[in-house]
Amino acid sequence: MFGTEMSIESQHARAAMPESEEHYRAVAEAATDAIITIDSDSTILIVNPATERIFGYSTEEMIGQPLTMLMPEYLRHLHKGGITRYLETGRKHIQWSAAQLPGLHKTGNEIPLEISFAEFTRDGRRFFTGIARDISARKRLQDKQARLARHAVLHAEVSAAISESEKSLRAMLQICAAAVVRHLDAAFARIWLLNEEQKVLELEASAGLYTHLDGEHARIPLGSFKIGMIAAEQKPHLTNSVQLDDRVSHKDWARQEGMISFAGYPLLVEGRTVGVIAMFARQCLELDTIEAFESVAPVIAQGVARKRTLDTLRETQAELAHLTRVMTVGELTASIAHEINQPLAAIVMNGNAALRWLALDPPNLAKARNSAELIIRDGDRASQVIARIRALLKKSPPLKTLLDLNEFVNEVVDLTRSEMVRNNVRWRVEFADDLPGVPGDRIQLQQVLLNLIVNAVEAMLTIEDRQRALLIATDIFDNTCVRVAVTDNGPGIDPQTADHLFDAFTTTKPDGMGMGLAISLSIIKAHGGRLWTEPNNKYGAIFQFTLPIVANEL
């Protein structure tokens, strides 16, 4: 079929051109790449044996057929247009050397190909020869590498999500599900957690095609359906053909949505099921994809366990903090009563005054009105005191706001004011100007400062030979923090106590629980700050805490 007189246009090809037709045929037959010659109508004229292997057709099935039979449907039109234009204008519509294009196998599957073209003329007719290399293996390797890279990202994202302690458990799981969808090409992914009391799996996260958490799959009894079975059996369930799988119940739905594969893994912590993670995909799952999925399941399970422990710990801490807060406020009862009594006393007196102004002949209405205004102001003041106390006594979830530290200190000093007067403590505040606002939980931090002031006042009660003096000061510390320091001139801290001053159940008070400083320390730590003590110059101690300044507040 190859004539010796055939001339090849390319100089390069000419140099390598075999002397004999036999030699050339031998090369073509030995080649692992498909070599196809077509005429200007794109009719296949010559194919080599590798062509049969790569495309699945026999030589007889290809010869005389249009080249487009070896192309996916969507490329055929492009090819026709491209070759026509080239024949007319000489302009190539694709690169002729090592162009990557998909071919079409007899089975209908696409084959990734790398194709080079050459053109030659014989008897005034133009012919084209294409050399097509099957790069499926290379492509698979590349795809796998890309997948592995994505799996690494998936792992990193899941790990980051589970160590994020500020987020809720549900938010954390949602990030994990979304990462599975994004990096494993899942159509959708869902995570259920086991409610052990009710023996029900509760849907906590859903990403991809479905994002709702209610409906049919919101609660799945342990042991029922594929998800319930995975949880009960503590075994994964995998399939790359959902249509043939016994456990996939909604086959019509799967067909309609083009779901091909399913993977579900139990979330296990120390042999106990805490939940299930599952995904559907519209393609077959590669082994490495399944491995990646399998490897994130324990990470998520650990995250769930860790988060639950943390939440319990936080709850306990919050309970304890609340309890000590209530006790601290309890120690201030007399002072608080005084703070409420003052405006109430003023109200009664202003009320009496108002009656007198009205009883005059003629009544002094201006003065009566003034009295009413004073009453309103005093009433507001009393209710503000009560609101502040209530806020302290209430069990409220932590809430960070930007605090003006000086204003904050003033509020606490207001609450302890008459406690200090009553105990003949002379106090002073020294405020640094222009302190940046710091984020913090007002109630919790009030508790800390309240505790420090009450402790200081109590420490000074034994002093009779000098004026009891308390200094509450704010300043910037180390350029990175704001500091509140409470300085007393009491007996100071006994070195033996100093070492475990901040431990729980350390107390020097006969009826103290010894939780105040321990809780205070945990509150300040949770704010990223420090709480420590130093001896004061001559007498007493300095208790101080810092709170970090957030960068953008500087």
């Binding site: 007399a334 009563a337 005084h338 009594n341 003052q342 405006p343 109430l344 006393a345 003023a346 109200i347 009664v348 007196m349 202003n350 009496n352 005054a353 108002a354 007198r356 102004w357 003065k367 003034n370 009295s371 004073l374 102001r377 005093d378 003041r381 004011r417 008459s418 200090m420 007067v421 009553r422 003949n424 002379r426 106090w427």
Partner: protein
């Protein structure tokens, strides 16, 4: 001096209480002046105030009881009415011993407060007239010669002219003349009167018998 309108001086660090007391006091037609701290009052109060003082027991800085002491020390003789949120007994006793007129617990009823104020003002009025009388006696006493003062001292001790003459190594006549001058200058009507005057002069703080 008696024409000065009495002023109710109010010292309380709590603005609500200060304003309320001022309002209540002025609603009864009395004149009120307010001071936020004891120090402010000590610095700014009139030289010879007439009236009374309404004082918060517990104030930061100088407490009400401290102020009472300072006033006594400075010779400011205002009757003090203490007002307290929680009148504990030791504080009350201390205040009353230091000369407080009344010890009222918040909230103060207007009748209670007015009664206390009236009582304090009456006390101040009497004290002031008493102090005026003593001052007048002092003026008279200052006119006595040293000898006359000596004689007066012995007369009020109950010594007879003869005994005095012996003691001072003078004649009885001379003593009699000095005694007459003393009675005249001191405007004493009788020996008993002179004794009372001497008593007042030696003990100016105590009220008249």
């Amino acid at each position: 001096m008696m024409a000065t309108k009495p002023v109710i001086f109010i010292v309380d660090d709590d603005p609500s209480i200060r304003l309320a007391l001022e309002n209540l006091v002025s609603s009864t037609g009395q004149q009120a002046e307010t001071y936020p701290t004891a120090r402010d009052f000590l610095r700014d109060c009139p030289r010879d105030p007439a009236g009374c003082l309404l004082l918060d027991v517990q104030m930061p800085g100088l407490s009400g009881l401290d102020l009472q002491g300072e006033l006594n020390h400075a010779g400011i003789h205002l009757p003090v009415i203490f007002i307290t949120g929680h009148g504990d007994i030791p504080t009350t006793v201390r205040a009353m011993k230091a000369g407080a007129v009344e010890f009222l617990t918040k909230p103060v009823s207007d009748s209670e407060l007015l009664a206390a104020i009236n009582q304090a003002l009456e006390r101040d009025r009497l004290a002031r007239s008493d102090r005026a009388e003593v001052a007048e006696l002092r003026v008279r006493y200052d006119q006595l010669t040293p000898k006359e003062r000596e004689v007066m001292g012995l007369v009020v001790q109950g010594l007879l002219n003869k005994q005095i003459a012996l003691k001072l190594n003078n004649s009885e006549i001379t003593i009699k003349q000095h005694r007459g001058k003393v009675m005249h200058k001191m405007l004493a009507e009788s020996l008993a009167d002179l004794v009372r005057i001497a008593e007042r002069l030696s003990n100016p703080g105590s009220p008249p018998m």
